[in-house]
C-alpha cells in the first residue's frame, strides 16, 4: 500500500530562518506517528505542512500520493482532522456547534450531526446534555481540549493531526483518553513533548530537534537510541526506566 503521508526532503523557512530542515518520512495507513520534541523544535509547523496550512519551502509533502500544493485547499482540510494546540474553538459557537463544525460544512443532515455530536461528547467524557449548549468560555481548559479532540474526529477523517491534545488534562482523564486514542483505527500524527505519552501511543516516534528529525523508529528502538536528544528525553523517565 502507498503511504498516506509522505515528507520528501521537506524544509520550511520563514523570514530567512529554517524551522524545519530536510525532513523525510512515510506514514502508512493505520500508523500512529508521534512527533516528539522540545518547545520550538518545529512540531506544530510540521503538522501544518500536512493539512496545507503551510507549504514547504523546498521538498514535497504528499497526502495520499498527491502533493499538498496540488490538493484543493478546502478538501484537504476537511479530509484531515486537526486538534489545535490551544484548542482554537469558536467562541461564538456552542460546544455542540463546535463539535459539529465539519459535518455541517459537509452538509450532513441535522439529525445525523446531532447524533454524532452526542456520541463524540460521550466518548471524550463530557455529558452531551450538560455541555452541549455551553459556550467555550464556560469550560475548563481540559474540557476545551476535549471538545477540540471531538471536533477533529467529527467527520471521520482519514487522517488525524493532534497537537498536544491532552496537555491540559489531569493524569486520570488523560489516561482514559490515551486509551481511547489507542483504540482508534485512524492514521494519526500526534505531537507531544511528553516522552511517556510518546512511548505509550506511538507505533513510531519521530524526534525533532531544532527542526531536524534526529530519530525515527518504533518505541523499543527509541529506548535504546544513543542520540543525544533521545537520551535527554529518556533521562526524564528517571533512572529506573533508562535501559
Amino acid at each position: 500500500m502507498s503511504a498516506l503521508v509522505e515528507f520528501a526532503g521537506v524544509s520550511y523557512s520563514v523570514g530567512g530562518r529554517e524551522i524545519l530542515r530536510d525532513i523525510s518520512l512515510r506514514l502508512e495507513p493505520g500508523e500512529k506517528l508521534i512527533l516528539l520534541g522540545r518547545s520550538g523544535s518545529g512540531k506544530t509547523t510540521a503538522l501544518k505542512l500536512v493539512n496545507g496550512l503551510l507549504f514547504p519551502s523546498s521538498g514535497h509533502v504528499l497526502v495520499e500520493g498527491k502533493s499538498t500544493t496540488e490538493w484543493d485547499s478546502v478538501r484537504l482540510k476537511r479530509h484531515t482532522g486537526y486538534v489545535i494546540q490551544e484548542s482554537g474553538l469558536f467562541p461564538h459557537f456552542t460546544v455542540a456547534a463546535n463539535v459539529g463544525t465539519v459535518p455541517k460544512l459537509e452538509n450532513w443532515p441535522e439529525q445525523r450531526i446531532q447524533a454524532r455530536v452526542s456520541e463524540l461528547l460521550t466518548q471524550v467524557g463530557l455529558d452531551p446534555k450538560e455541555f452541549g449548549a455551553r459556550y467555550p468560555k464556560q469550560l475548563s481548559g481540559g474540557q476545551r481540549q476535549r471538545i477540540g479532540v471531538a471536533r477533529a474526529l467529527a467527520a471521520n477523517p482519514a487522517l488525524l493531526l493532534l497537537d498536544e491534545p491532552f496537555g491540559a488534562l489531569d493524569p486520570v482523564t488523560r489516561l482514559e483518553l490515551q486509551r481511547q486514542f489507542q483504540k482508534l483505527q485512524t492514521t494519526a500524527i500526534f505531537v507531544t513533548h511528553d516522552v511517556r505519552e510518546a512511548l505509550l501511543l506511538g507505533s513510531r516516534i519521530g524526534l525533532l530537534r531544532a527542526g531536524s528529525l534526529e530519530f525515527l523508529g518504533p518505541p523499543p528502538e527509541f529506548l535504546h537510541s544513543q542520540g543525544e536528544e533521545a537520551r535527554a528525553f529518556l533521562e526524564v523517565l528517571g533512572a529506573g526506566h533508562v535501559v
Binding site: 493539512n51 478546502v74 482540510k77 476537511r78 486537526y82 482554537g88 469558536f90 467562541p91 460544512l105
Partner: protein, 201 residues
C-alpha cells in the same frame, strides 16, 4: 404646528435612515475588502478622516455647485450625511474584523471553511458588536447633523431650528432640537441594546 412637527420628524427619520443604509452599504464591504489589503488601510481611513473634519455646513455648501450630485434638496443632504457616516462604520468594521483572534481564524481555515465561510461564520459574527457600535455612533451623529440639512432645503427637524433662529424664537428652535435629541437618544439606546446581544469579540 403639531402636524408640521410630525411631518418634519418623519422626513428627518427617512433622511437619516436612507443615509445610514447607503453609508453602511458602502463602508462595510469596503472595510471587508480592506481587511485583505493592509497596505490600503492608511489611505482609505485617512480619506474618511478628512471627510469628517470638514465642517458640516461647509460640506453641504461645497456639494451644492457640483453637477449631478449637488443642488438644493434632499439628494445633496443625503450625500453629505453619507460622507460623514462612512468613517465610524469603516473604522469599526475594520477594527472588528482585524481584532478576531488569529488562532480562531486559523482554526476556521483548518476546519476546511472557504474564505467566504470564514467571513460569514466567524469574522463577521465575532466583529458584529464592534461593527454595530460604529453604526450606532454614525447614526447618532447623523441625526444631529441632519438638522443642518434644512439649510440647503432638504427639510427635516432643522426647518424649525433655522426658522427659530431667523425669527429669534427659542420656542421654535426647541421644537426642532428636542425631538432631534430624543431621536438620537432612542437610536443610541436601541442600537446599543442590539449591540449587547452579541458576544464581545
Amino acid at each position: 404646528m403639531w402636524f408640521e412637527l410630525q411631518d418634519l420628524a418623519i422626513e428627518h427619520i427617512i433622511m437619516v435612515a436612507i443615509s445610514m443604509l447607503i453609508a453602511a452599504g458602502i463602508a462595510i464591504p469596503t472595510a471587508i475588502w480592506l481587511t485583505r489589503r493592509a497596505a490600503w488601510h492608511r489611505w482609505v481611513l485617512g480619506f474618511a478622516n478628512i471627510l469628517q473634519t470638514i465642517p458640516s455646513l461647509a460640506l453641504f455648501g461645497f456639494l451644492i455647485p457640483i453637477p449631478f450630485i449637488g443642488g438644493i434638496g434632499k439628494r445633496t443632504a443625503i450625500i453629505a450625511l453619507v460622507l460623514y457616516a462612512l468613517l465610524p462604520i469603516l473604522r469599526n468594521t475594520l477594527v472588528g474584523i482585524m481584532g478576531v483572534d488569529a488562532a480562531v481564524r486559523e482554526s476556521a481555515v483548518a476546519m476546511g471553511m472557504t474564505p467566504r465561510q470564514v467571513l460569514w461564520q466567524v469574522e463577521l459574527p465575532l466583529a458584529a458588536r464592534t461593527i454595530l457600535a460604529g453604526l450606532r455612533v454614525a447614526t447618532v451623529t447623523t441625526v444631529g447633523t441632519a438638522t443642518i440639512a434644512a439649510a440647503i432645503g432638504a427639510g427635516g427637524l432643522g426647518v424649525f431650528i433655522f426658522r427659530g433662529i431667523a425669527s429669534v424664537d427659542s420656542g421654535q428652535i426647541l421644537a426642532g432640537a428636542v425631538p432631534a435629541a430624543l431621536m438620537a437618544i432612542l437610536a443610541d439606546e436601541g442600537l446599543g441594546w442590539i449591540e449587547r446581544r452579541f458576544a464581545p469579540a
